[in-house]
Symmetry: C2
Subunit: 355 residues, 2 copies
């Protein structure tokens, strides 16, 4: 009986270690580019966090900081790389200045629509190429939600020719802005909070934002009649970034829970965008019957495409990895687009009564 | 010191109960309609099971029986309802004979494409309506994967008018077959294993299967030149069925793991179908350059639509729940389709170079 105290000690350790293993919680800090309660984009992080917490029985918690807390909406890449945050929710193309090849993983003008691009990520070379770009920075990157096909923008006057673009004052940031500038557009940069007033007062003639779901709250349909289909962001995918060391601290089951929660939240965001854009466009048309949908005339599209092709060629000329990514996307598009054309496109064109 | 044995006993119980709670495993038996190693559809169940097992650290296991084991590919509904299996992977419209309203949750001719339909399920009334249909049978039903837009079929001769359909011998099952029969087609039912020979020998003139991804292995492109875009299954969603009691036996974390694993596997199947159809169509065209894509002429489309509308109206006339479902789908389509038309359809029509 004199071994009893030893037995008690051993059993006590077993209780503690078993209980600890089962109950140990992990909290990941996530910084998102978006402000608090931002629709769709902010819903995606909360959807992801809720799934991860419920699936792990509370063992994996994601604490989300919006831009009002971390004050660095376009500093997510740096903060997650430095380990200041474990995770981020942002868009790859915001970091074009630091890692030029990041931009290809959001969307490319004249490129793939959402289901094509998901197919490239998950069944083509997309994920492997994205890893090549992010691994040197100690980061993992995953698709984080798609906005769907973005609109070309709100215009106060119709665009019927290339001439109409000369001197047109338009807010359109990033790569699309570079292309537009080459075509003679006077591209201006105006903070989001001042856009409505700028468009209303004629400081600008046109602007590009996202699509009906996110444009609705900005109110642009109240002051511009022409809503043009897009060419510049056919399937904009935001991203989840994870610090490699934070990822490796997680046990295997929580890594898989996190991976699947991100994947589902990304798909869900694409579907939510589809839903919400349908709702918002229908509301815009009912309240403002003068608002009309337009597509750019062929000569404008042709000029946009030629300029896009040239700029993409120049960007990838001296960078073998950029060339590999661009080539992979173009090859994939050539393979998948004929199928999309003979299925959904043919169906929408020949079979559907609406519009 | 004489309480020591009691302390040992208490600690021993604690070790066991803590360990048991953490390690208790649940095994769900799943019956799938498909045969073993069936591509895409069978991949979806395995993808779901692998995610569930890894996310639960092995606490949730799904044992999959294919049709070669359970011998009842179209008996999944009955077997899961009876509790013979805990889960099923099948298509809702196979059970039209037993529960007529099940058919609306797979796809409807001239209805929604995949992203529209997911939006209806998850952000419209789809899930609530599906629950109304399945709950009385003690079953839960979840989207289980989308094939994408299905093709209208393989034809040995071109269809240029309604007259060409008179007496045409075609294999096309289900609702589409009923519509085709009304238009004068001699609809025949031939087992899958005999389809190639039947088409080759002229026993039939045409047949409908799925789309390039699944048609490829059937070899139809080797013996028929015309591949028509579809009208009958614009976004066929298969389903996961779960016995309500089996679901309720799971702890909350495993329920959420199962829900999310099914949701992701469903989305993944849609994306895999998109990928694999792109690959297969490209291979068909390279090996058989005579194979051509066609769309049915407007008079055929109009007749198909009018007949579809009439049959759907008749099916829902005396069934309030059917009317509610059909109305919900039509209302949703009217809301979401204008957005799809001004985004992806406009983009594919005006902006894309391929085809």
């Amino acid at each position: 009986m004199k071994q009893l105290p030893l037995l008690v000690a051993v059993l006590l350790m077993l209780v503690l270690s078993t209980a600890t293993r089962a109950e140990q919680t992990y909290t990941l800090k996530l910084a998102e580019t978006w402000g608090p309660n931002y629709p769709i984009l902010g819903d995606a992080t909360r959807n992801m966090a809720a799934m991860a917490e419920a699936m792990s029985g509370g063992r994996l918690r994601i604490r989300i900081d919006s831009s009002n807390r971390h004050k660095a909406p376009f500093g997510i890449f740096d903060m997650v790389k430095a380990g200041q945050y474990d995770m981020g929710h942002t868009a790859s193309y915001y970091y074009k200045g630091k890692i030029p090849n990041a931009m290809y993983f959001t969307t490319v003008p004249f490129g793939m629509i959402a289901p094509e691009q998901y197919a490239w990520f998950y069944f083509g070379d997309g994920m492997a190429l994205m890893e090549k770009v992010y691994a040197p920075h100690g980061l993992l990157s995953f698709p984080g939600g798609n906005t769907g096909n973005q609109m070309g923008g709100w215009f106060r006057e119709e665009i019927t020719s290339l001439d109409d673009l000369q001197g047109l004052k338009m807010r359109t940031p990033g790569f699309a802005g570079e292309v537009m500038a080459e075509l003679g557009v006077a591209v201006t940069n105006i903070p989001p909070g001042e856009l409505y007033t700028a468009l209303e007062r004629g400081t600008i003639d046109a602007l590009e934002w996202v699509g009906p779901a996110l444009d609705f709250n900005m109110g642009f349909h109240q002051i511009a009649d022409y809503y043009y289909s897009g060419w510049q962001e056919p399937g904009a995918e935001v991203q989840f970034l994870i610090n490699q060391q934070a990822w490796e601290r997680l046990p295997a089951d929580l890594q898989e829970i996190l991976r699947v929660a991100m994947r589902t939240a990304a798909y869900d965001m694409y579907i939510q965008s589809t839903h919400q854009s349908g709702v918002a466009w229908s509301q815009m048309q009912q309240a403002y019957p003068d608002v009309q949908h337009r597509t750019f005339p062929p000569e404008v599209i042709d000029a946009l495409r030629a300029t896009t092709d040239r700029l993409l060629r120049e960007a990838s000329e001296n960078d073998p990895l950029a060339r590999e990514i661009v080539q992979s996307q173009q090859d994939y598009l050539r393979q998948v687009r004929p199928w999309i054309n003979m299925s959904d496109r043919a169906y929408l064109n020949t079979v559907a009564p609406t519009d």
